[in-house]
């Protein structure tokens, strides 16, 4: 038996040493283009690379916004600046609560916001959030918080990618990378974290059925709320305007329970009533007119708070 245990232990140690070498070597040889279970896409979509390196942001900021594309395509720092508020938008593509936590832990102390606005929607609690996790670990820095997020996804692609991203960052292999401000689909990055889609014609979205709450997402959300409160910043949770397809009424009551118990909560999902085509690009993302109206309401709420 001891011989068997010794052999298994030796082989396990060998795996621990050799496996990362093989993952890194293979990913480098194949130019990390999605071959196998590594997805290392610098820039990706959502401009997170540019956002976390945005030189236009000076601490302390008045308002820090976190959330998914509903946040980075919905909250424009230029409109906040017109009202005398220095805002930074820390949204990321398909961001779930777990990635929101990582970004907050990386940026909150640096930016020292007076108010943190969490842009919430039911899908932030859905599933493991692989797409957003890959985005965050590749385009933001890798540390223990990122590694924990990767492990909690339970997904081998996230595990391999975080390992590969960590080594690349350690060796500074992407130091010369610059992300174009205008993406291939025409989305333009605006300093301060906003992403503008210059032209969007309204296309309605089919009704969205939200999945059940993932336990680790709920826990990440609670940790984020506690972290923000401990920093002394004010917390405002906002459900942004959406069309009928995606209102929180279609989500479970557990989601609403999380929001309303976390802090001040504003439900703006029905801000525009049924006038979808006037304010939306699709079922969830606002056009320019929609952003202006939503931001005006949000700025009022922040100032009142």
């Amino acid at each position: 038996m001891w011989r068997f245990l010794r052999t298994v232990l030796m082989f396990a140690l060998l795996v621990v040493v050799v496996y990362p070498i093989l993952v890194i070597g293979t990913s480098m040889a194949y130019k990390h283009d999605g071959f196998g279970n590594v997805h290392y896409a610098l820039g990706y979509h959502g401009h997170l690379w540019s956002r976390v390196r945005d030189g236009s942001v000076r601490a302390p900021v008045d308002v820090l916004v976190v959330g998914s594309s509903l946040a980075y395509r919905g909250c424009d720092p230029r409109l906040f600046a017109e009202q005398g508020l220095h805002m930074f938008n820390l949204g990321s593509s398909a961001q779930t609560a777990a990635q929101g936590e990582v970004l907050l832990r990386h940026q909150l102390h640096r930016l020292r916001p007076r108010t943190v606005v969490m842009v919430v929607s039911p899908d932030m609690f859905e599933g493991p959030g692989i797409e957003s996790a890959l985005d965050v670990m590749v385009n933001d820095r890798v540390d223990l918080v990122t590694v924990r997020m990767a492990l909690l996804t339970g997904n081998v692609k996230a595990w391999n990618t975080v390992l590969y991203a960590w080594i690349r960052q350690l060796l500074d292999l992407d130091g010369d990378f610059t992300e174009p401000y205008i993406a291939h689909n025409g989305d333009r990055y605006v300093p301060g974290g906003f992403v503008e889609r210059p032209k969007c014609d309204h296309r309605p979205s089919p009704p969205r059925v939200f999945g059940p709450l993932a336990e680790h997402q709920v826990e990440a959300f609670r940790r984020s709320v506690a972290f923000v409160k401990a920093s002394g910043a004010r917390l405002l949770l906002v459900h942004p305007p959406v069309t009928g397809c995606c209102r929180p009424s279609s989500a479970s009551s557990d989601v609403a329970f999380e929001w309303t118990n976390a802090g001040a909560y504003l439900d703006m999902s029905d801000l525009f009533g049924a006038s979808d085509s006037a304010f939306f690009c699709d079922g969830r993302h606002l056009n320019r007119a929609g952003v202006a109206r939503f931001n005006a309401a949000l700025i009022r709420a922040v100032k009142q708070q």
Binding site: M1, R3, F4, L22, V23, F35, V156, N160
Partner: protein, 479 residues
């Protein structure tokens, strides 16, 4: 709890450690531990169905004792019928009731009778087809006097519920497994390492080969009308590889984990796609089920004795029942019927036991005749798999008709080529390991240790780097 879950990665080492630490006391303590662990393993899916499993276990255990104790043949038969009736009754209610109720309503509608069927909509308890067959084989064997009944309910419970084989087989025989359960087990280094090797290869088959084929197959079979002929043909081939990787991978993990605990389970697969005719294929595919049907259905029906019509009848009965065993759907019945048709010519010509050895034994490549025979057998098998995999018969017919079009000669449309390359490599390794119990059994054993370990490391790396990142349940769990 799935074999490829993190839960099992914690569960099994704990069971393994406690199990062998008990070996100095008695095998009975080990049996109690394994039974408890097996019930826990099963309850992780749905604890409600654990009661069904325990009830079935107690029923068959008691029936076995009563059949043995009773002298009068009529009374023996009554106990046998009770056990068989209740077991098949559960299987019928959970697995087949809704299907037959709906089909009856359709039939009634055609003759002008409006029938609104009462459907139960029950969830199928995981592994019910497998543990029911375990229990039935035991009761049959006691009835025929092949074995003495087991008095100890723990031993019998472990025979039915042993976790490596509980949810998807292999379907064990009391004559094979019970003697191992009722004897002390000693730890043997070679057997344990062999078990680990088999687990490793099983995980590779399931996670890398089967799971990577699954999304491609799903895409092709979901809408056969929209695919080219070559894509549909590729879909059938990929499903053949998927179901083999999935089920034989599961069986390898089951046999490997059992071997780590000192048990030898029945072999379930013997490189079936290297068969030279359908009879050989059925001696190599899902062996434990095929032999179950042979021993408890085909032979009692008369087997290959009697006239031509008797043989034809018996072959159709076992293949149709085998199809129905897989699920309540006409697709499975057609799959069974097709295999019966494939099988008949060799049986009627008395040539169903021609290929008892391994193809190209001792040679690296087959000769032209063997290659042709294998290709023909594989083609027939893939054709039958189309019906097995399709959602319904109309879809299967669209798939078959779609293959035989001019677009058969176009380039197939697949979003990824990596799974195809991996599948090709996998079949190559299987070919070179075909004379062993599993491909990795003796492969690399004669190499120096560093070389051998490097080979295993490459497999571990391939699993981590190429495994499908989503969770895909084992196909046979639904049966």
């Amino acid at each position: 709890m799935l074999f490829d879950s993190l839960g099992f990665a914690v569960f099994f080492p704990v069971v393994f450690a406690v199990y062998w630490s008990l070996s100095t006391r008695s095998y009975r303590a080990q049996n109690v531990l394994l039974l408890m662990a097996s019930y826990f393993f099963y309850a992780c899916w749905d604890e409600r169905f654990l009661l069904l499993l325990i009830f079935s276990t107690l029923l068959d255990h008691t029936s076995g004792l009563l059949i043995h104790r009773t002298q009068a043949p009529a009374a023996k038969r009554r106990w046998l019928y009770l056990s068989v009736g209740v077991n098949l009754g559960f299987l019928g209610v959970f697995k087949y009731y809704d299907f037959f109720a709906k089909e009856f309503a359709h039939l009634a509608e055609r003759v002008g009778l409006g029938v609104d069927p009462v459907l139960l909509g029950l969830v199928l308890p995981v592994g019910i087809s497998f543990y029911t067959f375990h229990g039935l084989s035991y009761v049959f064997d006691v009835y025929r006097g092949r074995i003495e009944p087991v008095r100890d309910v723990v031993d019998y419970g472990l025979f039915v519920s042993f976790f490596p084989l509980l949810v998807a087989g292999p379907i064990e025989r009391a004559t094979h497994l019970l003697p191992q359960i009722r004897a002390p087990r000693t730890f043997r280094y070679e057997r344990a390492v062999d078990g680990l090797r088999q687990c490793l290869w099983g995980f590779f088959k399931k996670l890398v080969i089967a799971d990577n084929c699954a999304p491609l197959v799903e895409g092709i079979f979901a809408d056969p009308a929209a695919q080219s002929g070559s894509t549909l043909l590729l879909g059938a081939v990929l499903f053949a590889i998927q179901i083999y990787g999935d089920f034989s991978g599961y069986s390898d993990i089951a046999l490997g984990t059992a071997r780590l605990l000192g048990f030898e389970l029945l072999r379930n697969f013997a490189f079936p796609y290297f068969s030279r005719d359908i009879a050989e294929f059925w001696r190599r595919w899902h062996i434990s089920l095929s032999s179950w049907f042979r021993d408890y259905l085909y032979i009692p029906l008369g087997g290959s004795r009697g006239g031509i019509w008797m043989k034809v009848r018996n072959i159709f009965i076992i293949f149709l029942v085998s199809g129905l065993w897989h699920g309540a759907n006409w697709t499975f019945l057609v799959w069974g019927g097709l295999n019966a048709l494939y099988f008949l010519p060799s049986l009627l010509r008395g040539k169903n036991r021609v290929h008892l050895d391994t193809v190209a034994q001792g040679r690296p490549v087959p000769d032209l005749l063997e290659a042709g025979q294998m290709l023909a057998t594989f083609t027939l098998t893939c054709f039958a798999w189309i019906f097995f995999r399709s959602d319904d018969i109309p879809n299967a017919l669209v798939h078959v008709r779609g293959i035989f079009t001019a677009s058969l000669f176009s380039w197939p449309e697949v979003p990824k080529v990596t799974p195809l390359a991996l599948a090709g490599l996998f079949m190559l390794v299987e070919w070179f390991g075909r004379e062993q119990r599993f491909a990795l059994e003796r492969m690399a054993l004669s190499w120096p240790r560093w070389c051998r370990w490097s080979f295993y490391l490459v497999i571990v790396f391939a699993i981590g780097f190429f495994m499908y990142p989503g969770e895909i349940p084992f196909i046979y769990f639904q049966f």
